[in-house]
Every structure is written in C-alpha cells, then in structure tokens.
C-alpha cells in the first residue's frame, strides 16, 4: 500500500521531469519503466476495512465425554454454529485441534484426540462445508487449556477447537 503510493509519486515525478528534461539521471532511470501506466486511483483499498476478519473465538469449542469421541447434542449444536460461520465467510479455512484430558497414556490420547478432531470434521462435512477448507491435528493431552487436576479442568480439556489458518 505504502509502496504503491511511493511508486506512484515517483512515477508522477518522473513524468514531470520527462516533460521538461530530455536528459535523465541514472538515479531516476527505474521509475521510467513504471511511467507509461495511467494514473489509477487506488479504489479497492477502501473496501478492506468493511470485512471483519473471522477469529478463533467466533467458533464454539466442542466438548467430549471421558474416553469418548462421539458427538453429544451440545457438540452438534456447536458444530452447526461453526459450519454457519464458515458458510458466511466462504474464504476462511480452519484447522480442528483434537485434545484430551491428562488421564490416560500419551499415545492413546494422541489417537483419541485425533478421533475427536475427525468426528468434528466429518460432521462439518455432513453440514455442507467443503473438506478442502478443513484440516485437523491431534495434540493428545499435550496442550491442556486448564492445568488443573480435577473434573472441572478435565471437562474443559476434552475438546475440539477451531483455529483459523487462512482468511
């Protein structure tokens, strides 16, 4: 944006110089190439502020029961909301992260986290979201959102979270 303005400024300057001075300094040589362009007004720039970028927080976190990866009703409602966000913002792409609570083994939880991410992803596809806009990864029990060691913390950690990877 800034660069474009500078380029244009240089172009206009060059144009002016061109008009009166037949001889060109080597320093100003580069802008000469740009000079033939007509003087366009940067119209499309003003459109950008009107689009509100989609944030991770626009997506509802999907929660799971202990050792389970099936979608309970609340999970389906959350995913329906998330599918709508993606439909309203057709260029947005997301990564679904599958997570587990701290109980259970590292490796089993990696697989379980992936089952959760996949269950969420499959339901999104059922709801009509193109699979090309969805990616997934399992973090197992490695990235808890709550470091507590009680049911309140565990239930928050058994989740599938949506992360925007491209607007």
């Amino acid at each position: 944006m800034k660069r474009l303005l500078i380029l244009m400024l240089l172009a206009t300057l060059a144009f002016m110089f061109f008009g009166c001075k037949p001889k060109v300094d080597p320093v100003v040589e580069q802008p000469v190439v740009v000079a033939p362009e007509p003087e366009p007004e940067p119209e499309p720039v003003e459109v950008i502020p009107e689009v509100i970028p989609v944030e991770d927080a626009d997506f509802v976190v999907v929660y799971f029961d202990l050792d389970k990866y099936n979608l309970v009703d609340a999970a389906k409602t959350a995913l329906e909301n998330n599918a709508q966000v993606l439909k309203d913002n057709p260029s947005v792409m997301v990564k679904i992260e599958g997570h587990c609570d701290e109980r259970g083994t590292v490796e089993y939880n990696l697989s379980l986290g992936e089952k959760r991410a996949k269950a969420a992803m499959d339901y999104m596809i059922d709801l009509g979201v193109a699979s090309s806009r969805l990616d997934m990864v399992s973090y197992g029990k490695e990235r808890p959102i709550d470091n507590g060691h009680n049911e309140a913390a565990w239930s928050k950690n058994r989740r599938a979270a949506f992360i925007v990877i491209s607007q």
């Binding site: 109980r103 259970g104 083994t105 590292v106 490796e107 089993y108 990696l110 697989s111 089952k115 990864v137």
Partner: protein, 435 residues
C-alpha cells in the same frame, strides 16, 4: 491429620493389591508378595580410604566419600543385592574401634567391598577389593582411573564389574535414559545417566517432542515431534545431535518402536482416518499395514526375538493389550484384568510385559506373556510410560505421586523405587540399550 489419611490409604491400597509396604530410608519401597522366593544378597561397602601421600583437598575428600555413596546406591539398585550399612551402635556394642570382617558377618553381610583411592595428577584412581565374608578371602579386585570430572563413571564401571563377577549379569550402571521435560508450553527431550545425573538437552525446537525410543544399537532416538506443525516421526543421531525427518504421512505419525534387529520400525499412522499399526522400513517407507479395525490401535512394542508385537487396542471400548505375530497375523488379547490397560513395553528377557493399568489412578503393572501373573508394581498418583532397562531387571516410568510429574526407576519386583528428577513436568522416559 493429612498424614493419617495417607497412612490409611496405604493400608487400604496395600490390602487391595495384595502388596505390603516397608518404609526405606527416604524412598518408599514396595515389596511384592511373591518376592519371598527371591532373597537379595547382603553386601556392604566400607568408607573409602585415602592411600595417597599428599595432603587431600576438601573437594577431593568429598569426592572420595561420594565414591562409596554412589557404589552403595548402584549395588542397592540391583534386585540381587541389599546394602547393609555400617552401624555405630553395633560397633559400640561389640566394643570395637573399627569394623572388622567378623563384625560385618554379625550384621549379616555376605560380601564386603573395601575402597581405596588416590588422586594422581588431575585424575582419581579407585581400587576395590571384594571379600567373601564367610571365608574372609579376597575374591576379586580391580582398579579404575578417570578424570576427576568423570569420577561417577569410574564408580559405575566398578559397580558393573562387581555385579558381573558376582551374578554373571551385565550391569546397567553406564546406560542412559531419555525423557521429555515440559518447558512452558513445549516439551524437549533430555538424556541423562541411569541415575538422573549428567542431564543433557537433546532437542531445542520449541515444540512438543514425545515418545522417544532408542534404536537397538543405541545410536539413534526415534520420536514424535510437532516441530513442523503436525505430529511426525523424527530420527535423532546422538553422535552429533542432528535430527532428520523420518515419517510424515497425513495425520498421526506416532509411537515408534524399532525391531530388535533394527531393520523395521513399528509405529502408529492414521493416514486412513484411524490409528493403525504399520511397519516402516529404515527409510520410513511403508512395508506393511498390520492392523485393520475401526478402533484405536497404538503403542507397538517388539518381543526380543522380533517375532511378536504387543500393542494396545480399544476395540472392546477401552484399551487392552493384544499380541500379534510380526506380520499382523494370529492376533490375541493379553490383558483381562481391569478396564484400561495400555502403554505396553516388552521385557528384554522376553517373559514379561510391563504396562499402565487404570485402577482409579494409573498404576504400573506387569503380566507374563502367557497372560498370567498380573502384578501391580507402582501405585500412588498417576504412573505412566513404563519402559524396561536393557537387562530387564529395572523399569523406568513417570509418576505424579508427589504432585509434579517426575521420572522414577524401580527394579522388576517394584522395589528400590527412586526419583531421578526434581523439577516437575517430566514424562515419556525410555531406557537406552547397553553401550
């Protein structure tokens, strides 16, 4: 009050799992009921004597004392031995100035070790003499010399030699262990001596690095890392600490386990939408898919003869341990006790598999490969990731028994439980093969 509750818990849990507990110095020691068939040999190490001619410096004097401490700890770690300590009151009772070999015999000692040291140049020279207390005869002696900075290695070498001469077994005192340490939101891999000393950081990629496992020649560590965003398997060369990508199939690339002959790597891939066990060749290319079910298959581990693979599967609703031939055929369930059994690791002796079992909290158990003889070895807090030492006489694992997650070791009976780390956030231990 709290103390009382803990005591009561100990009693209840002890009764439930048919284990009785004895309090040892500092560490608690779990004694298995079937351990009565195995009586450890009593052995003693006298205080180190200085035999140099120069005046000894304060730091050398500390080092000299530590040699005895380390040797006692090493030998006591072995299930074969039980250290008998010098007893001042006993000495007084016998009206003796110093311990004599007869006095040690009174204390029940079978073998006695006398240590002598001197400090030539910037080295330490350690000499041991091993006595059979019954016959009062010297049966073995040896000398070890090392730089002062590496004096622990000299003591460990000595412990290996003493163990070998008395039992015929190779000791694990010079073997290494690897584990993951939580640093902020990341986990990096560290390597250390078997007793937790000389810790060295292996990875520094500011991501999650887990499930390390050694190649059978001890030269490489395979592990799962998120260093490139997704969980892939990487191979770390210990010689120069370089890392290369090993497997990056879509989805999970996890739980690597190298075949005993080093030719194949069993691991978990989810490229078909669900975790399955695969065999990869040395270049990371798929050689064979071993499992095919809609359930989670995970954590493969090889039998020492390379013919069988144990793994976990939740095909019955929760993880249980199964065995299959190394070509995926002849699948059979191994564990039936308890509702959640996972994270198997096959003993290098071949006869047992150690694993994690949920009984409220997570415990470390062993079971014979016949499926019989289910035993509980470690309780209190959550105990995870058991992994056998190369001699099959010890198990390393992580535990939250004191709150923070730390690395512990114990012998194959669950005795000599020791904490290796102190800073918390430790997980995923694995034991290196013999050097």
């Amino acid at each position: 009050m709290k103390y009382k509750i803990v005591i009561e818990l100990v009693v209840v849990i002890g009764l439930l799992s048919a284990i009785s507990f004895a309090q040892n110095v500092g560490d608690y020691q779990g004694r298995l009921s079937d351990k009565s068939s195995f009586e450890p040999t009593k052995i003693s190490v006298e205080e180190t004597r200085y035999i140099g001619i120069d005046y000894i410096t304060a730091s050398d004097s500390v080092m000299m004392k530590n040699c005895g401490v380390i040797l006692r700890r090493d030998l006591d770690f072995s299930p074969y031995f039980e250290i008998v300590l010098f007893d001042k009151f006993f000495l007084k009772h016998l009206e003796l100035e110093t311990m004599t070999i007869s006095a040690w015999k009174w204390l029940g000692t079978k073998y006695l070790i006398k240590l002598e040291t001197e400090f030539p140049r910037s080295n330490i020279r350690l000499r041991y003499r091993l006595f059979d207390v019954d016959t009062k005869r010297e049966i073995k002696k040896g000398t070890f010399e090392a730089k002062k900075t590496e004096y622990r290695n000299a003591v460990h070498d000595m412990a290996n030699e003493i163990l070998k001469s008395l039992t015929g077994d190779n000791g694990i005192y010079r073997t290494k262990v690897v584990y993951a340490k939580k640093i902020d939101d990341t986990k990096e891999l560290f390597i250390a001596d078997y007793d937790g000393q000389n810790e060295f950081q292996l990875t520094d990629n500011k991501s999650i690095n887990i499930s390390p496992t050694f190649s059978p020649d001890g030269k490489y560590i395979y592990f799962t890392s998120y260093m490139d965003g997704d969980p892939n398997i990487y191979k770390l060369k210990l010689k120069n600490n370089t890392v290369e990508l090993f497997a990056e199939y879509p989805g999970l690339n996890a739980a690597p386990s190298v075949a005993p002959d080093g030719s194949k790597i069993a691991c978990v891939l989810s490229k078909d939408g669900n975790s399955e066990i695969y065999l990869l060749n040395k270049n990371g290319r798929i050689e064979k898919r071993l499992t095919e079910s809609r359930a989670i298959e995970s954590s493969p581990t090889w039998s020492p003869d390379g013919k069988t693979i144990a793994f976990s599967s939740d095909r019955t609703g929760a993880p249980q341990i199964y065995l299959m031939d190394a070509d995926g055929k002849n699948m059979r369930r191994l564990t039936f006790n308890g509702s959640y059994n996972d994270s198997p690791n096959w003993s290098p002796k071949g006869d047992k598999i150690t694993f994690v079992s949920r009984a409220g909290d997570f415990t470390i158990c062993t079971v014979d490969t016949t499926g019989r003889n289910h035993q509980v070895l470690a309780i209190y807090g959550n105990n995870e990731n058991p992994h056998y030492s190369p001699d099959g006489n010890h198990i390393i694992f992580s535990s939250t028994r004191l709150g923070p997650s730390e690395i512990y070791t114990m012998d194959l009976f669950g005795n000599s439980q020791r904490r290796l780390t102190v800073r918390g956030g430790m997980s995923n231990p694995a034991w290196a093969p013999f050097e």
